[in-house]
Amino acid sequence: MIDFTLNGIPTRLDVADGTPLLWAIREQAALTGTKFGCGIGACGACTVHLDGVAVRSCVTPVESVAGRSVTTIEGLAPAGGLHPVQEAWIEDQVPQCGYCQSGVIMAVAALLEQDPAPSDEVLEATITNICRCGTYERIRGAIRSLAETTEP
């Protein structure tokens, strides 16, 4: 049994310790926007926010989030709304198959929260998600346009 806050809602899930947060979110909480890509922390498809920081939920044991706050793609913006990163993703038509994009969006949103105009070095070191469709050019472009709009 684990108690935590999921997308702003106090949540109790009946999951065994050791279960990765990914599967608790997808199966117990029935939020399937967070994706499974590798299960070993290598692709970023499962990225969520843990107390505002991007983490890979497939390698985050569920007991480690007890009492903490988890945000998934479904909770990134208030219901019915879009986060600026999601808006930029539509504006720049970033996704192809889209499977990796929940994770990419979560990783980018967390980064821009910390560093609204990241340098190339920071960007490349932080956004290490794999996109098999190869949308990197547009990911970069969308981040750049977001960074511009936040600059003073």
């Binding site: 999951v15 065994a16 279960t19 990765p20 599967w23 997808r26 199966e27 117990q28 029935a30 939020l31 399937t32 926007g33 967070t34 994706k35 499974f36 890509g37 590798c38 299960g39 070993i40 290598a42 692709c43 498809a45 998934t72 793609i73 479904e74 990134l76 879009l82 999601q86 993703w89 539509i90 038509q93 970033v94 996704p95 192809q96 198959c97 889209g98 499977y99 990796c100 994009q101 929940s102 969006i105 960007l123 490349e124 070191a125 956004i127 290490t128 998600n129 794999i130 996109c131 098999r132 469709c133 190869g134 949308t135 990197y136 050019e137 547009r138 990911i139 970069r140």
Partner: protein
């Protein structure tokens, strides 16, 4: 060509075979089908017009579906509805892999219809049940209230036929007939609907057709200034005769096609709401993890179930012929329990194969074939060998399928590139009649050729597992490792290329001997260059890993051979690689233009930063010509880094430029991961690679900048999903040669 014929007959009847010239059609209960679009119309219950559009499609050869299969018969797959509210709703079978197929198709329809694009809605797919094969008729009757003539019903049953083909055209590439059919089906329907609306307007305004203009979902009578919306005219239009030969717009009158439009599927993808196969959730559903024989062809011989069955949440250990699966309350429990098992598999006598022995077998097959005859007056003969490895697709979404067997019926939920064939696979596995199987197709987290016919092992497995937990539904999810090790790989190929050069270094002949199939690969193996004597032939090697279509199929291997070799010849001749190619392409003006454009974009011959080299390659695939220039450097650890790609693309018509661009950029990235990193190797009969760490992908940090330009061309519409891939590896290899003098003839590219 025949594909571009079109024929539309009156409501209630398919186009018949009236020219007698086509013999490939299949005679069935509906008469003989030909390669034509056919349209059925009806009135919407609350008023309005509906057209059902079908096309007879010959599946691309590479999918190995002959015209005798159902793939060669007619389907009403797509719908245009014009409502009294003046909405245009296009329903297209849902099979979106990320190329924007549905949006592109709808744009082509709207162009011919003269619809206001802002009033066009795409129905991603009818909701699951509507789309389910066999139910499509009922679903549409329920939804629209129009009655379906008896003969239609069979045709409707094909409705889930792959959107790859419906979508066809440039979005997914494929054979000419695929693109032809995909392209003209909906265009004809749009044009037909427009003519029916015009007839309705003529009757309403009592005016001759010649005085009426359709534009932006409205028909205007010029002399009187009267006008009516499509919606106002739709109900009357539904009673009009379907034109036999609707007039299509010439390309220079296009207003919508050729402009960048947003894809309709993107909002749900950025919201995390899009449902992929792996996301399917049903009441009472169980989860399964699976481990199949590591050696292809192996069978499960023994497994002690106890370690798994004693674990919490585990329901069952299921023994399949070639695999063992564990069913549990959750996927994590299932996968942990699976990991606790130590199943034994037979190896079908293939347990000793390794990459070296596979290579040796390919070489032996080529040796047996022997070289081509040298030309008598050759000044010099060049003869080299290339080699490319097996490659995995590694779609982001691992293979997954959900199945339920209950009450003598089987339902399957999965993302496939061909729901129709997936359904047949499921029927066989369930031992049921196809009519008792329902396939609910889902979004695909990448396809690239992995989710095509004959590669539906994951669906077969899900059905078998569902049998043992019937009537509960079960979702089977492959681990990344299972996915990497049980793919239908891009074939391993060894190729020997040989040419005789005259005194000026011009090729007198070109011989390519490669392992594979001449039938399948021969076209790709032929160089586009002006050479008198071209001789390509294949030797069939013994097969080890199972193989399948991989983005751009045989062009990805042969593009590397041909474009590396021509570069070697340029070097032999002491000529610039662009100039050398250009001299051999005077008979191919589209190639020449693309070559030149890419060279200009990259400032070919212009100054380069210290430590950088450029290479070029040009390949035509699926009707599209792509020339690419790569700019590379060699890093301190001797790895190759690609900084920039410039690509010039002639795909005939560009439907949605922003998507065309995305497809080429994506193709280049896909090709680059393969060129630099990817290699599936075999040890003791099994695949060695397991996951992304040993099958690494290009990421943001090493993704090159990619510039793409499209060359205006009036050529037939070509593919875009695949043709960006083939020039990548040779362009990079050629750049590495220019920079280092090392000619790399084996993929992935690794410097000595």
């Amino acid at each position: 060509m025949a594909d571009d014929d079109r024929s539309v007959e009156e409501t209630g009847r398919p186009a018949g075979d009236d020219d007698g010239a086509e013999t490939e059609g299949k005679r069935g209960p509906l008469g003989k089908w030909t390669r034509r679009a056919f349209i059925g119309t009806g009135a919407l219950a609350g008023g309005g017009l509906v057209l059902g559009v079908g096309g007879v499609v010959f599946a691309p050869n590479r999918m190995r579906i002959g015209p005798e299969s159902e793939g060669g018969t007619g389907q009403l797959t797509t719908w245009i509805k014009i409502t009294p509210d003046n909405d245009v709703i296009v329903s297209i079978p849902h099979c979106e892999m990320g190329q924007g197929a549905l949006t592109g198709i709808a744009m082509m329809m709207a162009e011919e219809l003269e619809a206001d694009w802002s009033l066009v809605r795409i129905e991603e797919s009818p909701p699951e049940d509507h789309f389910a094969n066999g139910y499509i008729v009922r679903a549409f009757v329920d939804e629209t209230g129009f009655s379906v003539p008896g003969w239609f019903q069979r045709a409707f049953d094909y409705a889930s036929y792959k959107a790859m083909d419906v979508a066809g055209m440039q979005v997914t590439g494929g054979s000419t007939s695929t693109r032809g059919t995909g392209q003209y089906g909906l265009r004809v329907a749009g044009a037909a609907a427009k003519e029916m609306l015009l007839q309705a307007a003529a009757a309403t305004f009592d005016a001759p057709l010649s005085e009426l203009t359709a534009r932006d979902s409205r028909i205007t009578h010029g002399p009187s200034g009267r006008s009516a919306t499509f919606g106002e005219l739709a109900t009357l239009a539904a009673t009009m005769k379907v034109p036999n030969d609707p007039v299509m717009k010439p390309r220079d009158q296009y207003r919508l096609v050729g402009t960048s439009q947003n894809r309709h599927d993107i909002p749900s993808k950025v919201a995390g709401a899009a449902q992929y196969g792996i996301d399917v959730t049903l009441p009472d559903m169980l989860y399964a993890a699976i481990a199949a024989s590591p050696v292809p062809g192996g069978q499960l011989s023994e497994v002690d179930e106890a370690p798994a069955t004693s674990m919490a949440g585990v329901h069952e250990v299921v023994r399949l012929t070639e695999a063992v699966a564990v069913v549990a309350d959750g996927y994590w429990q299932a996968s942990q329990a699976l990991a606790a098992l130590t199943p034994r598999f037979t190896d079908d006598g293939r347990g000793t194969a390794n990459t070296e022995s596979i290579y040796a077998a390919h070489v032996a097959a080529l040796d047996e074939k022997g070289p081509g005859q040298p030309s008598r007056d050759a000044a010099k003969t060049v003869s080299v060998e290339y080699r490319v490895p097996y490659l995995a697709h590694a779609t982001m979404e691992p293979m997954s399928a959900t199945a339920r067997i209950a009450n003598g019926r089987c339902e399957v939920w999965a993302g496939t590139q061909d729901p129709l064939n997936a359904r047949r696979t499921a029927a066989r596995a369930a031992d049921l009649d196809v009519s008792d199987v329902v396939m609910h197709n889902q979004q695909l987290g990448g396809g690239f050729g992995r989710r095509l016919p004959f590669t539906f092992d994951y669906i077969e497995q899900a059905v078998h597992v569902a049998k043992s937990v019937s009537p509960r539904p079960v979702k089977l999810i492959w681990s990344r490792e299972e996915d990497m090790q049980h793919d239908y790989y891009r074939p391993f190929v060894v190729a020997r290329l040989r040419t005789d050069l005259d005194a000026e270094g011009r090729p007198l002949s070109w011989a390519s001997r490669f392992t594979g199939s001449r039938l399948a690969d021969g076209g790709a193996a032929r160089p586009p260059y002006e050479i008198d004597d071209i001789d390509v032939s294949a030797a069939a090697p013994p097969v080890h890993l199972r193989t399948g279509s991989w983005r751009s199929v045989q062009y990805s291997q042969h593009g590397f051979f041909v474009e590396s070799f021509i570069d070697e010849l340029a070097h032999e001749a002491g000529r610039d690689p662009v100039e050398y190619r250009a001299a051999l392409l005077s008979h191919e003006p589209r190639h020449l233009a693309a070559l030149q454009r890419a060279a200009d974009m990259a400032d070919w011959g212009g100054p380069l930063a210290e430590g950088r080299g450029r290479g070029i390659a040009i390949v035509e695939a699926f009707g599209t010509i792509v020339a690419e220039v790569a700019e590379v450097s060699v890093e301190a650890d001797n790895s190759i880094r690609v900084h920039r790609f410039d690509a010039a693309v002639d795909c005939g018509l560009v439907v949605n430029p922003q998507q065309a661009l995305a497809q080429i950029q994506g193709g280049i990235t896909f090709g680059l991961s393969a060129a630099l990193y990817h290699e599936i190797t075999v040890r003791n009969g099994a695949v060695e690679q397991r996951s992304f760490p040993d099958y690494p992908m290009i990421q943001l940090s090493n993704a090159p900048r990619v510039n793409v330009e499209f060359i205006a061309s009036d050529a037939a519409i070509g593919g875009l999903g695949e043709p960006g891939v083939p020039p990548v590896a040779p362009a990079v290899a050629n750049a590495v040669f220019a920079l280092t003098g090392q000619r790399l003839r084996t993929l992935p590219l690794r410097l000595a």
